[in-house]
């Protein structure tokens, strides 16, 4: 059985969350700049340049790494924003850059050949040929896999692409299928998750209290209506509940969250280099709870035990958890 110690990669939307993640046992923390160069471009979130400098210093003093996500797709005519982000992340001492766009990968590989490059989940590379292309052409060292593969498929993939590392999501919000290519939110708001870093931008979201519950609106579209006694979810179209043939139902995906605590022995056995926790938009309390649970879980499995049972239902979207595609029975 493979017992390589996986790196626990944890989210931080603010310096306080980064400190919390490190205290809770993160091996690495991933962050973004306070602009459209990353896929969590939410108001009041993310790092200024001086904040990133201090955060990297704090992380390194505590033996943790800082990975900088610059994982949206540069817009024509505005590529300098993304180039500056790459340059600054390298200058400030980031341990790796998480990139998705081919042009930006080429820029980073050319200008900063010493920088460690990771391929973002936004690039949706999920087969050996695609992954090898990024490794051979741009020197990508690690690939964050899209959330569409089973554990057995990941194990087989690892055997084929070694020594290229893989990183998989172990907890948090789920996107539907072809990651990095979703335009649903753009139709309703005019802003793109892939270019502007905002899925359901807050400025386009409204919650309306009704007699029977809460309606969530995105632009002019009613995404969902939650009864008072129902758990709520994010106002994203992919998890909207729409009326079709007089029946309201989740047409694409239900509001549930990924939780692989119970799958950790299998995931560790699959030879994955890093386990990633989603949620840079979440608060310190989420970071503390989830990172601690996974720190304990990984350490328990490596010590020959089983992961402790920890219900994280109370903090996840829709109040429900799933093992996602890792255990999928469908094709």
């Amino acid at each position: 059985m493979n017992q390589q110690r996986p790196e626990l990669v944890c989210p931080a939307g603010t310096p306080a969350a980064l400190k919390t993640a490190i205290e809770a046992g993160a091996d690495a923390v991933y962050v973004g700049f306070r602009d459209e160069t990353n896929a969590r471009n939410f108001p009041g979130l993310n790092f200024s340049r001086p904040e990133l400098k201090d955060a990297i210093g704090l992380a390194h003093r505590n033996g943790a790494k800082v990975l900088v996500a610059i994982n949206t797709f540069p817009r024509a005519g505005a590529t300098d924003i993304w180039h500056r982000a790459v340059d600054d992340a390298v200058t400030l001492g980031a341990d790796a850059l998480i990139l998705a766009d081919i042009g930006l990968l080429a820029y980073a590989a050319e200008r900063h050949p010493e920088a460690r490059l990771h391929l973002s989940v936004q690039a949706a590379a999920s087969n050996p040929a695609s992954i090898r292309f990024y490794a051979e052409r741009f020197g990508v060292r690690r690939v964050v896999l899209p959330r569409v593969l089973t554990v057995a498929e990941i194990k087989a993939l690892n055997a084929e692409i070694a020594p290229i590392e893989t990183e998989v999501f172990v907890f948090g919000g789920l996107c539907v299928m072809a990651e990095g290519r979703c335009a649903l939110s753009s139709y309703a708001t005019g802003q793109s998750p892939n270019s502007n870093g905002v899925c359901s931008p807050a400025a386009a979201v409204r919650y309306v209290e009704t007699e029977t519950g809460t309606a969530s609106m995105l632009g002019e579209i009613t995404v969902n209506h939650f009864r008072h006694d129902e758990p709520a979810g994010y106002p994203t179209l992919c998890k909207g509940r729409f009326v079709a043939q007089d029946q309201a139902s989740y047409l694409f995906e239900e509001p549930t969250s990924l939780n692989t605590l119970g799958l950790l022995p299998d995931l560790i056995d699959a030879g994955i280099t890093a386990f990633k926790i989603e949620g840079r938009q979440r608060g310190r309390a989420y970071v503390a709870a989830v990172v601690s649970a996974f720190r304990q879980g990984v350490d328990a499995v490596l010590a020959g035990g089983t992961p402790p049972v920890a219900s994280l239902d109370a903090i996840v979207e829709g109040g429900r958890e799933t093992a996602g595609a890792y255990r999928k029975a469908w094709r």
């Binding site: 939307g13 603010t14 310096p15 306080a16 969350a17 400190k19 919390t20 939410f42 108001p43 009041g44 979130l45 931008p201 807050a202 400025a203 979201v205 409204r206 919650y207 309306v208 209290e209 809460t214 939650f226 008072h228 006694d229 129902e230 758990p231 709520a232 979810g233 994010y234 938009q281 979440r282 608060g283 310190r284 309390a285 989420y286 709870a289 219900s311 239902d313 109370a314 903090i315 996840v316 979207e317 829709g318 109040g319």
Partner: protein, 226 residues
């Protein structure tokens, strides 16, 4: 702030009903108190948070002209927060005029304090329906992120306003939080054993009455159709 870190609670969902919490008793006690007496404490708190967490206002600097209504549902007043970096204000008001606030954040005092202290996650409170948001969501998200990022500890911030009395005030807050926590557990026990079953019975009776009313209406229709 002490026992408030359980405000998110289990994965049950809340309701819009007024929460049965110690803060509700506090709210009843505060009802006859003029708000002018509360205001100096709020001013001191804002001054302390501003001094101790300067990055907070920087994160919400784009919303300097906006007012946010913070509505602790178990207190008899609301708080109007304005984010002008030069003069941020938290004002206690019985009610707001239309247009004074761009957004409203509503929840129990426990939940709002725990959120400010970073003891619970804002999205988790929202998912479990313990936090209600109305109006401009962008301002609320920005404020939530700024507060969470500021590493606020209200006990420490309040104590910091008290100069040489900081130590005793800190102890007093911790003791009060402990008492409130135990009172909260007692009130939850009362709610679970007395109030909840009574409400459930009342709901069952309402359902029965509604069923009878439907039957009567159907019989009337059938009768008039003959």
């Amino acid at each position: 702030m002490g026992p408030l870190n359980e405000a998110a609670g289990p994965a049950t969902v809340g309701s819009n009903n007024r929460p049965f919490t110690p803060s509700l008793l506090l709210g009843l006690a505060l009802r006859p108190v003029p708000l002018a007496l509360i205001q100096p404490a709020l001013d001191a708190l804002v001054a302390a948070v501003r001094r101790r967490h300067p990055d907070l206002l920087e994160r919400v600097s784009a919303y300097a002209d906006s007012g946010i209504c913070i509505d602790p549902t178990d207190l008899p007043f609301v708080l109007l927060l304005t984010l002008d970096p030069a003069r941020p204000r938290l004002t206690a008001r019985r009610a707001l005029e239309p247009g004074e606030a761009s957004a409203t954040i509503r929840g129990s005092l426990d939940a709002l304090i725990a959120l400010t202290d970073g003891k619970v996650d804002g999205d988790a409170l929202f998912f479990t329906r313990k936090l209600i948001i109305e109006g401009d969501t962008e301002i609320v998200v920005a404020l939530r992120n700024a507060i969470d990022g500021a590493d606020i500890d209200l006990t420490e911030d309040l104590a910091a306003t008290c100069g040489p009395l900081a130590g005793p005030v800190r102890s007093l807050i911790r003791v009060a939080a402990g008492v409130i926590g135990r009172l909260g557990q007692d009130m939850e026990a009362v709610r679970a054993t007395v109030i909840a079953p009574a409400l459930a019975r009342a709901e069952m009776q309402s359902a029965r009455i509604a069923a009878v009313e439907r039957d009567v209406a159907r019989l009337r229709r059938t009768g008039s159709g003959r």
